[in-house]
């Protein structure tokens, strides 16, 4: 029997498994002598469970169907996960808003600490994680007799490939579920652009874009590049773009191959979100902007001239 039994809570929506789950699996596979189980909570989780079963390295998928599991409410999921966690040494979720909301509630019910944003596995009980907006990395160790509940920093791990064939087992989890928390709606800013968290290329705009209309030149460039579009907090606060486009300490942490920052000054809270980008390009009219300290390629000038020009020359 494996020494480490790892339970991963699947994130999914609309019948599709979120890639964050496959990244959690990669993290879990770095733990020696481990056996990985994925738990799918849904009203009918068959299709998601099948997707999870196909992930390499997964041994077993538990499908917990319940009418109460239609929307991922932390108050409803946490007691079920806590009940299921018996017999597991680790319980992981992604450090997306889903996992950040849920996993601390699970940890408190189990009466064990939670580790946030683990970015590297040193051993089964020792991990590394960022603090101070990623300006320091700490090594954390939890005593071997405690269950480890953690969120996995998705930008630090590649998604595991398909090719697995885990068994799927339906499970009935008998616990009292609260009714004090009710889902009302979700308003997703619909867009057919690639997803910010998984896109290979991301074009981001800041306050300098000046208006929602100003962002058009970025959408147009993004279309040419097949890129997702992100933004700084200043652009979101000003109402130029919706909140789900924010990149940074309090927005999304991303790891694209190419990140193009346009009219973004490079505040530490923004840089936190792009530390793992392979190549950073900065376009800014201020040659002294801090973004140039981290950019691999910098171009000084007026974005309203340079961005359309860039799009043209990429033809």
């Amino acid at each position: 029997m494996a020494a480490n039994k790892i339970l991963i809570v699947a994130e999914h929506a609309g019948g599709a498994l979120n890639p964050s789950t496959a990244k959690c699996v990669t993290c879990a596979r770095a733990i020696e002598d481990g056996e990985i189980t994925v738990a799918v909570f849904a009203t009918d989780g068959s299709s998601v469970a099948a997707q999870a079963a196909a992930l390499q390295g997964v041994t077993q998928v538990l499908q917990i169907d319940n009418a109460a599991n239609g929307h991922p409410l932390a108050a409803v999921l946490a007691p079920q996960i806590a009940a299921l966690a018996d017999g597991f040494t680790h319980v992981f979720g992604p450090s997306t808003t889903f996992g950040k909301d849920l996993m601390p509630r699970v940890a408190a019910l189990i009466d064990t600490p939670q580790l946030s944003d683990i970015m590297a596995v040193e051993s089964a009980h020792c991990f590394r994680r960022p603090i101070y907006a990623g300006n320091a990395i700490i090594t954390v160790k939890v005593p071997a007799d405690l269950k480890i509940v953690a969120t996995v920093r998705t930008a630090s791990f590649e998604a595991v490939a398909d090719g697995g064939a885990a068994s799927v087992e339906k499970r009935d989890v008998q616990v009292d579920l609260p009714t004090h928390t009710r889902f009302v709606e979700i308003s997703a800013a619909s867009s057919d652009r690639p997803d910010l968290q998984t896109a290979r290329t991301v074009v981001s705009g800041g306050r300098a874009l000046g208006s929602a209309d100003g962002f058009r030149i970025l959408y147009s460039l993004a279309e040419k590049l097949g890129a997702a579009v992100g933004a700084s907090r200043a652009a979101v606060d000003a109402g130029y773009v919706p909140n789900d486009m924010q990149v940074g300490q309090t927005g999304k942490i991303i790891s694209p191959e190419l990140y193009i920052a346009v009219g973004i000054s490079g505040a530490i809270q923004h840089l936190t979100g792009i530390k793992d980008a392979r190549t950073i390009v900065a376009i800014n009219k201020d040659a002294e902007a801090p973004i140039f300290e981290v950019a691999d390629i910098g171009l000084v000038g007026d974005l309203f001239a340079l961005v359309p020009e860039l799009e043209k020359q990429l033809a």
Partner: protein, 251 residues
Amino acid sequence: MAKILVAIKRVVDYNVRIRLKPDGSGVATEGVKLSINPFDEIALEEALRMRDRGAAEEVIVASIGPAETQQQLRTALAMGADRAVLVQADAGAVVEPLTAARTLLALVEREKPQIVILGKQAIDDDNNQTGQMLAALWDRPQATFASTIELKDDKATVRREVDTGLETLEVDLPAVFTTDLRLNEPRYVKLPDIMKAKKKPLETVTFTDLGVTPKQQVEVSHYEPPPVRQKGVMVKDVAELVGALKKRGLV
């Protein structure tokens, strides 16, 4: 009438570029400006607005930290909180989120608030846990990462900032809320309010008074700087930029 409990944390000011101690034992905080965690300021602002709209009659602000945390609590009183409670921890002691949540639970049991508001994360350890843990231990609803909170009778409707957009939840009170950045813009403290705040009650209690045994279960063994990025190149025009991107196989 209803009370609101707000939890605040004393942290290195968000404008400070932190430095690590050379021996890797921690972050240098000597001589560094310390402030209320920005998300907690938003939590307090929201509570004050709720009270001023008549949704509650008292805002209690609590913090867990060393004696110097009185400074941040005084600032909170100057912003408009009615009274403050400091749960005094030893200087340099690490208060883990689970201990913080247990301590806040003890305060909740003592004060019986309808609403508890916390920042979604502290910008020092970036844990994002305490609110959720408190809600679990209290067995009450949580609405995290809130960007609007509307109260009606014994319910709240909360819009939450999530990865896919904005989610709306309805929760029964009492409940725990954690704040996102766009919930409100905290007020500035005016000088006369600082004077007035000196007369407001600030109580100091110990973990023992509250019946809480602080536990440190996570051992932090080493602090290191993040890997530094190599200094990049500057290009002079778009043609050069496109050339550089092509050379790297990025376009």
